[in-house]
């Protein structure tokens, strides 16, 4: 520990701290632009100059290490003169366009110019002008305003993992730009907007729509991935205008994925459903809530009476809140219906664990692992900030490895990577299990047949990366979770975890997957395998949110009665009998349980649009209309307290209840690799126009194959191909993906272009288009 003095205040700080760290620890503010606690030190803005006793000139606080007995003055004459001088230089080329600048009111340069600048300048010459850059549909640029702090450049390199932005040229010709002709395509690119201390990088969808001081800031929780990022939702005139991250070091740190940041656009879309509607005689008519709810109550009661309680299923989005799923389940239980399924994207429902499946540790504990293996995951797109967290952990020495079905770059160093066909994910994992068994010279785990498994060098590298590591984890990604052989994969992963002393973790696919399991909204198996007589869809679009979209849509069309509760009109007009407008996460209070088992409650940030009602209130009324007991809730908090009563942490358990027999099989022929594209995951992101204009969204319209497969099938990179699966087909653009194995056909699921195709992984035909 070193003793220093800042502005006369004595303090002790650990060795290796900078003057900036020391000042922050006692709440002394030193003005700065380029310094950011999560980024490397650049010391190029010079705004943080302070006086240090015995130093001949002012020193940058962000880059000056503390020495014992150091005396720092942040407001002395020398420091103030230096800060004023730097500010004058920074303002030389900065345009005086604050009145038309989106950053106005939340601009660090504006604030510091008031606090540390002068009213005039010695500079009377011309200011420089810099051409704007096209960074894609999410980030708007006004490069003349740039002060070259390089935060955005360091972010893309250090946090996002690939330096998409850079500082070209030099001296007064320096410009921040992407490589010629490229846009910024990172799945967490929006963070550069928050990082930019001036108005050079601003949000494109938000541009010119509101001023920061007109907006109220309300807390919420991200409703798309399993992380549960904390949000600040900014609201004006009862409309969501913008979403920003709320700093929470344990979850999203100070970052936010683009999906959480820009999905709000859908909340104000024309597609919103604002009134209950009933189809009568094939014609849609608006109805009042009373009529609609009585129609639903009578209809469901009648179907149960006529066809039995197994003829009805409720399918909910796993992005629904705890309160919604709990009241839905209670309502269905009242009708005698057991099937309440929030995991319609799964194919194998035979995995039975002793509790709700979860990450097996907190996110912070995950970062501290020395070795982590991820099985079957497009991590960057499934959980963008989890990928970021792992990337930082790898820099601190974590050995990260993958058993995967494609070679997508995680933009970090890997200790080993086994790439297999999508129908061979289990066999890939078994290679690692066998490599560990051989390395440790132990018997094969019970129930796992390793006889036919051939171990690759990559699998041995992964096995070695676990050797001697006290803290390790094995994670099952979305591709593993939706696999038709999930139970076997799960058992193999559990066995590997047991062999290596690692924790088994299941990163939740959706915002409330863990909550849904806690409540028991995972019953009924594949509710579309045999068509039911009646369906209740809560925030779900069967053609996009089921494992086999075409099967689910066909089942919905066959049903006698389909109740659709959604915030959007969607394509439910075809098969629904009644449409009930329910609130998206911004218009209701509720709770999400994230992948680490943490329940986060939030309030509605705006009033429900039109006659939209929170789903839990709809279920409450339905319960009362049907005359069930226990639906007299006064608030969502009462429901939450009942739903999550007791110690929920004790109900999280990834241990299998019974052994699963695991054996390797061989596979051949063309096979589909179907993933849910990053911006197709739920009804909200599917309707966010800016996200749909990104490069990631465009990628979802392609069929990706490796060069050998393209040649074998007589296709052309960039040409058209027709993909056939079951009864359906899709015409897509061919795109080369060197990371795939031979015969793997990578076609997105949950996408309008591929809705007629079948299950996520299965045999396909590909013809030249």
């Amino acid at each position: 520990m070193l003793e220093i003095e800042i502005d006369g205040k004595k303090l002790t700080v650990p060795g290796g701290s900078t003057v900036m760290d020391a000042a922050n620890s006692i709440g002394v503010h030193i003005p700065h632009f380029c310094y950011h606690k999560k980024l490397s030190i650049a010391a190029n803005c010079r705004m943080c100059l302070v006086q240090v006793e015995k130093a001949p000139k002012p020193l940058p606080a962000c880059a000056t290490p503390v020495t014992d007995g150091m005396k720092v003055f942040t407001h002395s004459d020398q420091a103030v003169t230096a800060q004023k001088g730097v500010m004058e230089f920074l303002l030389i080329n900065h345009p005086l366009d604050c009145p038309i600048c989106d950053q106005g009111g939340e601009c660090q340069l504006q604030d510091l110019a008031v606090g540390y600048g002068q009213s005039g300048s010695d500079y009377a010459e011309e200011k420089r002008v810099v051409a704007n850059k096209d960074l894609g549909p999410l980030i708007s640029t006004d490069m003349t305003r740039c002060i070259h702090c390089s935060r955005c450049v360091r972010f893309t390199e250090e946090i996002a993992g690939f330096q998409e932005l850079g500082m070209a040229n030099r001296g007064e010709f320096t410009e921040v730009m992407p490589f010629i002709g490229k846009t910024v395509n990172s799945e967490i690119s929006g963070n550069v907007i928050d990082l930019c201390p001036v108005g050079a990088l601003t949000s494109k969808p938000f541009r010119y729509t509101a001023r920061t001081w007109e907006l109220s800031r309300r807390k919420s929780v991200g409703a798309h991935d399993g992380l549960g990022s904390n949000l600040i939702v900014q609201v004006k005139n009862n409309k969501v205008m913008r979403v920003l991250p709320l700093e929470n070091e344990a979850i999203n740190e100070c970052w936010l994925s683009d999906r959480d940041r820009y999905s709000y656009e859908a909340l104000n879309s024309q597609e919103r459903l604002t009134k209950p509607m009933i189809k009568q005689g094939g014609v849609w008519q608006e109805a009042d809530w009373q009529t609609a709810l009585e129609y639903v109550a009578n209809g469901l009661k009648q179907v149960v009476a006529e066809h039995g309680k197994d003829s009805v299923a409720a399918v909910a989005s796993a992005n629904s809140t705890v309160e919604e799923l709990f009241t839905l389940r209670k309502l269905m239980a009242g009708l005698g219906v057991e099937a309440v399924q929030a995991f319609a994207r799964n194919a194998d429902f035979s995995v039975k664990t002793q509790g709700a499946k979860w990450l097996g540790q907190s996110l912070e504990e995950l970062s501290q692992n020395e070795a982590v293996l991820i099985v079957g995951s497009t991590v960057r797109k499934e959980q963008p900030l989890l990928a970021q967290r792992l990337r930082q952990a790898v820099k601190k020495g974590m050995a990260l490895s993958l058993v995967n079905v494609h070679g997508d770059d995680l933009l970090t160093k890997l200790a080993g990577e086994v790439i297999v066909r999508p129908d061979q994910l289990l066999e890939g994992l078994l290679q690692v299990v066998k490599a560990v068994v051989e390395l440790k010279s132990v018997a094969a785990p019970a129930g796992i047949d390793l006889a036919n498994v051939v171990v690759s060098d990559a699998a041995r590298a992964i096995a070695n990366s676990f050797e001697g590591k006290a803290k390790a984890a094995v994670l099952l990604g979305n591709i593993a979770q939706t696999s038709a052989r999930y139970a076997e994969i799960y058992a193999a992963a559990a066995a590997l975890a047991a062999l290596t002393g690692a924790k088994l973790g299941v990163p939740a696919v959706a915002a409330n997957s863990v909550g849904a399991e806690l409540i028991g909204a995972d019953l009924g198996g594949n509710v579309f395998a045999a068509a039911k007589k009646a369906y209740v869809f809560v925030g779900v679009e069967p053609e996009f949110d089921a494992h086999n979209g075409s099967q689910a849509l066909a089942a919905a069309k066959q049903a006698e009665m389909v109740v659709v509760m959604s915030a959007f009109q969607s394509c439910a007009m075809d098969y629904a009998d009644v449409l009930l407008p329910i609130s998206p996460f911004t218009e209701t209070s509720g709770t999400f349980v994230n992948m680490e088992g943490k329940a986060q409650s939030f309030n509605g940030v705006v009033r429900p649009l039109g006659e939209t009602r929170p789903a839990w209130k709809v279920f409450r009324v339905l319960g009362n209309v049907l005359g069930f007991n226990g639906f007299d809730y006064n608030s969502s908090e009462e429901i939450r307290d009942e739903a999550l009563a007791g110690d929920t942490a004790a109900r999280l358990n990834n241990t299998l209840t019974s052994a699963v027999a695991v054996s390797a099989k061989s596979a051949q022929g063309l096979v589909r690799l179907g993933e849910v594209p990053v911006y197709q995951g739920d009804a909200i992101v599917r309707r966010a126009p800016s996200l749909q204009a990104t490069a990631d969204a465009a990628l979802a319209t392609t069929v990706r194959l490796n060069a050998a497969t393209i040649a074998k099938l007589g296709l052309v990179d960039g040409g058209k191909a027709i993909v056939k699966q079951g009864q359906g087909s899709a015409e897509l653009t061919v795109k080369l993906d060197a990371g795939l194995l031979d015969d793997v056909v990578r076609v997105a699921t949950s996408h309008p272009l591929t809705r007629d195709l079948g299950e996520m992984v299965g045999a396909v035909e590909v013809l030249k288009g």
Binding site: Q163, G166, A168, R170, G181, D409, L411
Partner: protein
Amino acid sequence: MSTNNLTTHNLLSAESLAQIDREVAKYPADQARSAVMGALRIAQVEKRYLTNDMIEFIANYLGIAPMMAYEVATFYNMYDMKPVGKHKLTVCTNLPCALSGGYTTANYLKQKLGIDFNETTADGKFTLKEGECMGACGYAPVMLVNNHSMCNHMTPEAIDKKLAELE
């Protein structure tokens, strides 16, 4: 780290790639980024100037982001981002040279060749560039021919002689 859109065909000769491999070998295996200056220099020697495609090719070859290579290529003024003539003449106009006749040299060259800085003669023979300190102030004014050969005390007479040699 590799990207999926690796340029499949080589933009450089086998000899140049072998030289780049030598540069890469000078640094630890995970620090190929350090070889970017050498690699760009080797590419420029072969192709006379650097195109964006070439910069991207080199970045991919080294396994770094294209922007990292572009930053370097645009920062240093000895990398040419536009076509240059057969002979590139770079005159130093930094202070010591300027005091010893650097501008006289430059002006003489401009008038003799009929071009300004950053321009190429109509016959494509000469390109004139303004250079930064070449570390030879004692021999001012200095001029660099084709980045690799340094000429001292470039008085008008010396220039005439040098240009005649280059014809």
